[in-house]
Symmetry: D2
Amino acid sequence: MNQTKIGIINVTGYAGVELARLLYQHPRVELTSVTGRSTAGQRIGKVFPHLASVDLTIEVELGDVELAFSAMPHQESAKEVIPLLNRGIKVVDVSADFRLKDATEYLSWYGFTHPAPQLLKQAVYGLTELYRSQVASAQLVANPGCYPTGAILPLAPVVKAGLIEPDIIIDSKSGVSGTGRTVNLQTHYSEVNEDASAYALDGHRHLPEIIQELKLLRPEQLPSVTFVPHLIPMTRGILTTCYAPLVSGKVAAGGKGKEEIRELYLDFYQDEPFVKIVEFPPHTKYTWGNNLCLIHPTIDHRTGKLIVISCIDNLVKGAAGQAIQNMNLMLGLPETTGLEALAIYP
Amino acid sequence: MNQTKIGIINVTGYAGVELARLLYQHPRVELTSVTGRSTAGQRIGKVFPHLASVDLTIEVELGDVELAFSAMPHQESAKEVIPLLNRGIKVVDVSADFRLKDATEYLSWYGFTHPAPQLLKQAVYGLTELYRSQVASAQLVANPGCYPTGAILPLAPVVKAGLIEPDIIIDSKSGVSGTGRTVNLQTHYSEVNEDASAYALDGHRHLPEIIQELKLLRPEQLPSVTFVPHLIPMTRGILTTCYAPLVSGKVAAGGKGKEEIRELYLDFYQDEPFVKIVEFPPHTKYTWGNNLCLIHPTIDHRTGKLIVISCIDNLVKGAAGQAIQNMNLMLGLPETTGLEALAIYP
Amino acid sequence: MNQTKIGIINVTGYAGVELARLLYQHPRVELTSVTGRSTAGQRIGKVFPHLASVDLTIEVELGDVELAFSAMPHQESAKEVIPLLNRGIKVVDVSADFRLKDATEYLSWYGFTHPAPQLLKQAVYGLTELYRSQVASAQLVANPGCYPTGAILPLAPVVKAGLIEPDIIIDSKSGVSGTGRTVNLQTHYSEVNEDASAYALDGHRHLPEIIQELKLLRPEQLPSVTFVPHLIPMTRGILTTCYAPLVSGKVAAGGKGKEEIRELYLDFYQDEPFVKIVEFPPHTKYTWGNNLCLIHPTIDHRTGKLIVISCIDNLVKGAAGQAIQNMNLMLGLPETTGLEALAIYP
Amino acid sequence: MNQTKIGIINVTGYAGVELARLLYQHPRVELTSVTGRSTAGQRIGKVFPHLASVDLTIEVELGDVELAFSAMPHQESAKEVIPLLNRGIKVVDVSADFRLKDATEYLSWYGFTHPAPQLLKQAVYGLTELYRSQVASAQLVANPGCYPTGAILPLAPVVKAGLIEPDIIIDSKSGVSGTGRTVNLQTHYSEVNEDASAYALDGHRHLPEIIQELKLLRPEQLPSVTFVPHLIPMTRGILTTCYAPLVSGKVAAGGKGKEEIRELYLDFYQDEPFVKIVEFPPHTKYTWGNNLCLIHPTIDHRTGKLIVISCIDNLVKGAAGQAIQNMNLMLGLPETTGLEALAIYP
């Protein structure tokens, strides 16, 4: 069977190298070209020993591929992606550069003027579970951020159903790989180990993305979202705890209400291969290395609040795995191809 | 100078052994008696090598002391404490057995009938910053739980001032030592490492304690509190993120509002040796091994929410350190005696 | 294609559950029966959420299978294995019960009289790289211990070639999962985190296994082996550092000697799919979750010592992965089937 | 009581900031001046929040002090130290710049020509237990490296007594803070977590220091030392495992030999406040945050090897603590002043 040729722009960040790992093992595509800046000219297995068996040299320029992933930082990614689109190549952009529909948000949140605002409408937001059919026919997919993936999936069913007041608190706890492979004091082992902290209290760049999508799920209601990300001492995983008041009278009291909510979630995600509604508070460890999002909705009956918790591996469902899930759809492959690996425990 | 004789009941849990470490180094008291069950008869330095220089044998029965700490589990602690009180000994109970004023809550939250309801009124809740004068004259101090300490201190100023709606969310992230030294699968290294999870979604036992104290801070308003504790892979530390809507019109908009809130906190805790208002999101690491509570209040202006974050070392300000802070007051010693150590970094 | 039915006795330890993960994903066999004691009657995905998609109920008795893995503790494993052998079932025993050829060693090292000494000769020691052909025709394979795997593979080439004096020091550093899933204070997160220690200084049970195999590699020379295992704060991985004096005059001085040694290792393991000779000191992370053993031999020219370092994932090449590697041979399948997954990084 | 004024050059590395923590709490000296490069002009508590109570601004130039610690990197430290010595200031140099007696070793091991070879003889090697009286009268003390401290202390008794053959293997496992606060990919949390590795196989810079001191302990015998440092995922602590053949006939066989060795160590370190001979394999956790070196000598009777294991906190006894131990002697203070804190557990 002929395999589609795939490339990765900037393979040397954590999202890029995780893409390489997953694509190399993908049975229906062939990873034929990877680029990097400081490491160009070296074999990928030299830079990343766990990829020693991958026979590829890191290049300056992307070779001839049918679909490319861009794992460049924001602002730089758009510059790489636009020429590829012009050449008719399909692109999954792992950066933020095509996630927001409103070009002015790039100036306010990311500090740059978007170079191709017209592409923002064309780009499909690659939260696969919400945009499956659009992804399948897209040339450009904007792969969601890790925090938005962990936040939108657990909130979507109740937001869409109008069961919660639009007064939402999202408290996320992320492993350190989410901050990237770039070195700085904040990711020094001795600083992060035995430490927990909140950050970006004035607004994290993933917030407009979350608001945009929650609004699209229920356009009649502007959501009020407080989002606080936290850094905790682990490599992979995001645990997201969402809180919102239930709309009065729509959900039964007591255990019956919990059951109704649970049914709603089971229905909403009933055919989803990668979203699982679980009966217990999920652990990030249960998603370590795989593409699942585990969701546990419950009700705090003392206060009438919905509490819904999700777990993902930030580098898989939160980045490379979801990007490949989107690629599968764009290439007409079964959505789960190459993504079936079980989580590694313990 | 004559030193007061002090004892610890059940020195072998993490709170008990941390009490031993701090009391041994305390310049004004002498740790003269420690008890334990399975380890009775052994020297304490044999069981805990970091205490090798402590010349004490673990006993079955407490020796002759003026003040005793009980680090027994709840329900068992009361049984040990009551006879001591009858003998006129001062007690700081590190367990939950005298924290709640309403005896019926012990049945609903802890599953036992309280053996001495009359003592619940007499006992002083030992959140030192709120009950300093009562602690000073108490015979029995109920040392707060680790989560309540981390939650009440950051909320007290705004609750008391009536600046927030009584609709509070408390999202706590705790190190593993908070769950105690008892072995079980949940604290196995391989299970906790590279893992984050929420627990006690149906109500953690520290919730009634938090509600009781918030209510006392503002009796005219019944607080609605959603509290979700999380376990994260570190040994010590609790990071608590609190969210509540600001009462409309009471705080200025924009940066001025943040400044007003900050001033309120600085005033509220201005003379406190162990509570520090910081200008940045605090890290648990900055309290590692010491008795500080760091608090950072801010406002999410997009949503009108107060966000206030605290950090403590769960075994110090969240247990043994605060217990000694209370002891100092009960013995007429300067409150900070024996608790001045800086946090250990990194 | 018909798939061979496979079973696991005692699936609930870390080796057992890792077997389940790998076998479930194996394309040529079908995991049809798993047993457990305290968890019998529950679905495996209930006990191990990462196996939620595995449709199996934990049983008391093994069902009808062609090949079984025993992941029972030593002494108990033999009791389970012997009846299976009598029924003609092929067995890979992950315990120590058939690793030692000399039955008296079970009494001295494990404290029990071996119930079937006659089987010890029949059993093949499943260090696949050394016993490939015997494994292929064996009914009973004794899967090596994690430490022996990490020690014998890096030493085999030089021992066999007679290049080192038989005066060997093996200093191993193991992740905590190597001590098993049984709970005890030594594996409590708060005890192991931020800690390193040596143990078993009077002789670890894996020592006779190491000596036995080194002796078989060079029967004319009794090896003198000092083996010290260490526990370090990580979940998976064993780093083994071996030291031995080079036999005088057999290896060239300087860089040339290093190259000779390297060539020897490259030759020895040239066709091995799971042993890789690397040019840099290997990291356990490069084997995280996969079946590789990375080996780096070098020479300390100041002292004439060979230093050879190996890395494995103790639960894969050190347990479940190697067991499946052996199973593949026993079933006539390609040796790498189901074991091709790349290590997960970071 | 007048307090001696003390300064720290380059307070912003981990050794420097640990000096600041310990000196601030020291009852007999006053930390009056600290320097830093990129952080000059900032208050120390701004840069290091755990030092918020320390009232000092980081300066470009050292103020007027009687004794200074230099925590500069090697090669740069000598440049700072020499002018201080000329001004009559006492100096404890935490860098390597005055540790080696033979100036040519700086060129071969550190790649620079030593600027003041005549000072190398004058400088006292600050392994306090071995050079106590010289330290007391020294103007310049070269504080030992962390690995040499962890290696020389456990080897000194047997080397001096001539009980081991001079064929020594030192296998050290270090926490990450030992590599310094400078950021690079090797100390990125995601790279070090769940990882163990050896490094510097061609010779670590601490090797000549170890050899120099072992030689001085037994000048008649040139030691052959193989030293392999390892990096393991923890912040603080070095566990050192030393192996050497016992000289034949000097130590009794069996348990009696172990006891003889133990007695030798107890005698050698009998009056030492910071070196403790322990009866069990020590854990780095038992020294976390304090100045102790725990040593456990034993014999592998199967092979006639001495095994001796030591634990230190690399930032305390391995750096700042020992430096203060030396300062105490240089100032005529009791050696343990300011260093009595118990280790923090868990």
